[in-house]
């Protein structure tokens, strides 16, 4: 039943060794992705370049400037002296936030009136604008409360206070959130691409047909092509996990054995997608294009970068149909929350189901292409 299996695996190893560029690229991808997503992409907003037009200039207004600066969100970069200059700082893109403190700021505070501070926000980056708005509101509120408290001679503590405690990722570090997801995305990408290309290459070269006239069994051929790339997929996952723990200091809270076990069910889906791609594509360029049909949604719609819950309903369901969605939940569960077997059972059952379905579908299509 498995006739030819070992010979195919053995031969496949030569292909891998003889094409060090592809292998190198594939091993480079996780390193690159990790650097980009781990270091560069920081979903927390800080150091927003800010322009200030202070028409008051007295001590109280300076104090307000300091509060902005000390929040850590704003870097007061420009101090301008006209409305035009203030506007220009945003239009030219030098600053994302512009604050105009009115000339009567101190007077209003002393008089017990209301000082109006104008804030201009660059809405072209909505994430920055939203967060800046929240922070600047919070600063104004805090300032107002302290003034009211002083005037009432009341204790300076607010009556209701929120004491948040973030579980599992106490510092809310972006790498902790991103990297487990990245493990899923890279593993899928590498396994899918390598599998698809390895099979399409044989199709293109006519060697697949040549093999079919030999007594090699179909199952032997299929597994012989899949196993080497499954091994690379496992290696890739191990590498990303080591980088995650070693370099980014994201500890694995749960069981590593469980993580390895559950990763296998995702590996099946990735192999299935690779095989499916190879049956759809007739050359390597097509294979790469088809592969992106799987890869792009897995990056954007799986909850890897953006929360699924805030997506429109059809997109939400599309996200639910992606294997990566479930694997990312499993990874975050085990790595960050220390979740156990039973906590993640529903995810694993769905993922395994998807794996069986994809691999089965792809294998039957693969058999048909040989006919």
């Amino acid at each position: 039943m498995f006739r030819g299996l070992t010979s195919i695996i053995y031969k496949e190893m030569f292909h891998i060794i003889r094409d060090p560029k592809t292998l190198f690229l594939m091993l480079l991808i996780p390193g690159m992705d990790m650097t980009i997503f781990g270091y560069a992409i920081d979903l927390e907003v800080s150091n927003i370049p800010t322009a200030v037009y202070n028409l008051d200039g007295r001590r109280d207004s300076r104090e307000f400037e300091d509060m902005l600066q000390n929040s850590g969100f704003f870097t007061l970069k420009e101090f301008v002296h006209s409305d035009v200059a203030l506007n220009e700082a945003i239009v030219r893109g030098r600053c994302s936030v512009a604050v105009k403190i009115p000339p009567d700021y101190t007077d209003q505070l002393v008089r017990g009136g209301s000082a109006t501070v104008q804030v201009l926000l660059d809405g072209s980056d909505s994430t920055v604008a939203m967060q800046a708005l929240q922070v600047v509101n919070a600063i104004a509120l805090q300032k107002s409360l302290s003034i009211i408290a002083k005037s009432l001679d009341a204790p300076s503590k607010p009556p209701v206070e929120i004491r948040p405690r973030v579980l599992f990722n106490p510092d809310m570090k972006t790498p902790n959130f991103m990297i487990p997801g990245l493990v899923a995305v890279t593993m899928q990408q590498v396994t899918l691409m390598l599998t698809a290309l390895a099979i399409v290459r044989e199709k293109e070269a006519g060697t697949l047909e040549q093999l079919m006239v030999t007594p090699v069994s179909r199952l032997g051929l299929l597994l012989g092509k899949l196993i080497p790339y499954a091994v690379i997929g496992v290696l890739e996952t191990a590498i990303t996990l080591v980088i995650m723990v070693g370099l980014f200091q994201v500890p694995i809270a749960g069981s590593i054995t469980l993580l390895a076990l559950f990763s296998l069910s995702f590996l099946f889906t990735a192999l299935g997608m690779g095989l499916l791609t190879s049956t759809l594509a007739s050359n390597q360029i097509q294979a790469v294009q088809f592969a992106f049909i799987f890869i792009l949604p897995s990056v954007l719609l799986s909850g890897f970068m953006f929360p699924l819950e805030s997506m429109p309903t059809p997109i939400y369901w599309l996200g639910q149909a992606l294997p990566a969605t479930y694997y990312i939940r499993i990874l975050r569960g085990i790595i960050l929350r220390g979740a156990g077997f039973y906590d993640l059972l529903p995810q694993v059952i769905i993922l395994t189901g998807m794996g069986i379905f994809l691999l089965g579908l792809a294998a039957s299509r693969f058999h048909k292409t040989l006919d």
Binding site: Y10, G206, P215
Partner: protein, 312 residues
């Protein structure tokens, strides 16, 4: 002795297109069976059916005594196949390719070395053992492909246009190799476009628009009554200005067909008009003309048969 291949009404349809239509023939052991026909006439489809790559839509065939549908795995073990395009692993060396095929055919480990050395010896590729297949020239690639197809000592070899795109010297050497192997009892099923290669085959079949037109030894085909119909003879005509002379001859009432063949013309004319033809050519200023009777070439055979069929 039972035939090596026996095809009975072999038919293959792809959708509404019939690629191979009711083809029957049989091949005896040790023969070199040349399968001829224009591109797209169904040659490769026949090979692919006989190798078990495609299922026939209708009809049946047995290869080495085994049914190609029911006993396809048994068939695969004792045949070799060399496809049209070079289909070995370009990134593997000569030895690695040979090793791979030896393993795929499950040749016992202790025998493997001898077998590989044996085929290396047959095709003479010993000097290139370590070279990557992609760095071999066209002729050597074909020899390697042949070696890989021989490593399991097949009794029957299918070669799909084995000499397409290789130089004349390599072509001749490859044919010498085939004769050598044929002498050892290996049967060959070869497709080709080249008429001179067809002449070298012991048996020939001609397929045209999915249908088998004729099948037999080259001599049988050349003496077919349809090829040189009664009361006509084939002439080799020498004269000046061949192209103009050909047009002139085709307009003559007693000339049935005239074609340029190298530095002469081949013509099919009504018997008894040889002298008149020479006179007519001389009179039309193509002289001095000379005509001699010849037996038809295989090309003549196929052209005539195809025309007859199209006319019907």
């Amino acid at each position: 002795m039972s035939p090596v291949i026996a095809a009975e009404g072999l038919t293959r349809r792809f959708g509404s297109f019939t690629a191979v239509d009711d083809v029957s023939f049989s091949i005896d052991q040790g023969s070199i069976f040349g399968f001829l026909g224009p591109n797209g006439s169904g040659k490769s489809t026949v090979i692919r059916m006989l190798c078990g790559l495609l299922r026939p839509s209708r009809g049946s065939a047995s290869v080495l005594g085994h049914d190609i549908e029911r006993e396809v795995e048994t068939v695969k073990r004792s045949i070799g196949y060399m496809s049209q395009q070079f289909s070995l692993y370009a990134d593997l060396s000569v030895m690695e390719n040979l090793n791979f095929y030896a393993r795929i055919y499950a040749i016992p480990r202790r025998e493997m070395r001898n077998r590989i050395e044996e085929v290396i010896d047959i095709v003479g590729i010993g000097a290139y053992r370590k070279r990557l297949a992609r760095h071999l020239s066209g002729g050597w690639k074909q020899r390697l492909a042949l070696a890989c197809a021989l490593v399991h000592r097949p009794r029957l070899l299918f070669l799909d246009e084995p000499t397409a795109g290789i130089d004349p010297v390599a072509r001749r050497e490859l044919w010498n190799l085939l004769f050598d192997l044929s002498g050892r009892g290996v049967t060959f099923f070869v497709t080709t476009h080249y008429m001179d290669e067809a002449e070298r085959c012991s048996h020939i079949a001609y397929i045209h628009f999915s249908k088998l037109i004729v099948c037999g030894t080259p001599n049988e085909l050349k003496t077919l009554p349809e090829v040189t119909p009664e009361a006509t003879i084939r002439l080799e005509v020498r004269c000046r200005m061949l192209a103009a002379a050909m047009r002139h001859m085709n307009a003559l009432p007693y000339v049935q067909d005239a074609t340029i063949f190298g530095d002469s013309l081949h013509a099919l004319v009504l018997a008894g008009h040889e002298r008149q033809l020479v006179r007519d050519l001389d009179a039309a200023d193509f002289g001095p003309a000379a005509a001699a009777e010849i037996s038809p070439s295989l090309e003549d055979v196929f052209v005539t048969l195809t025309r007859n069929r199209d006319a019907r």
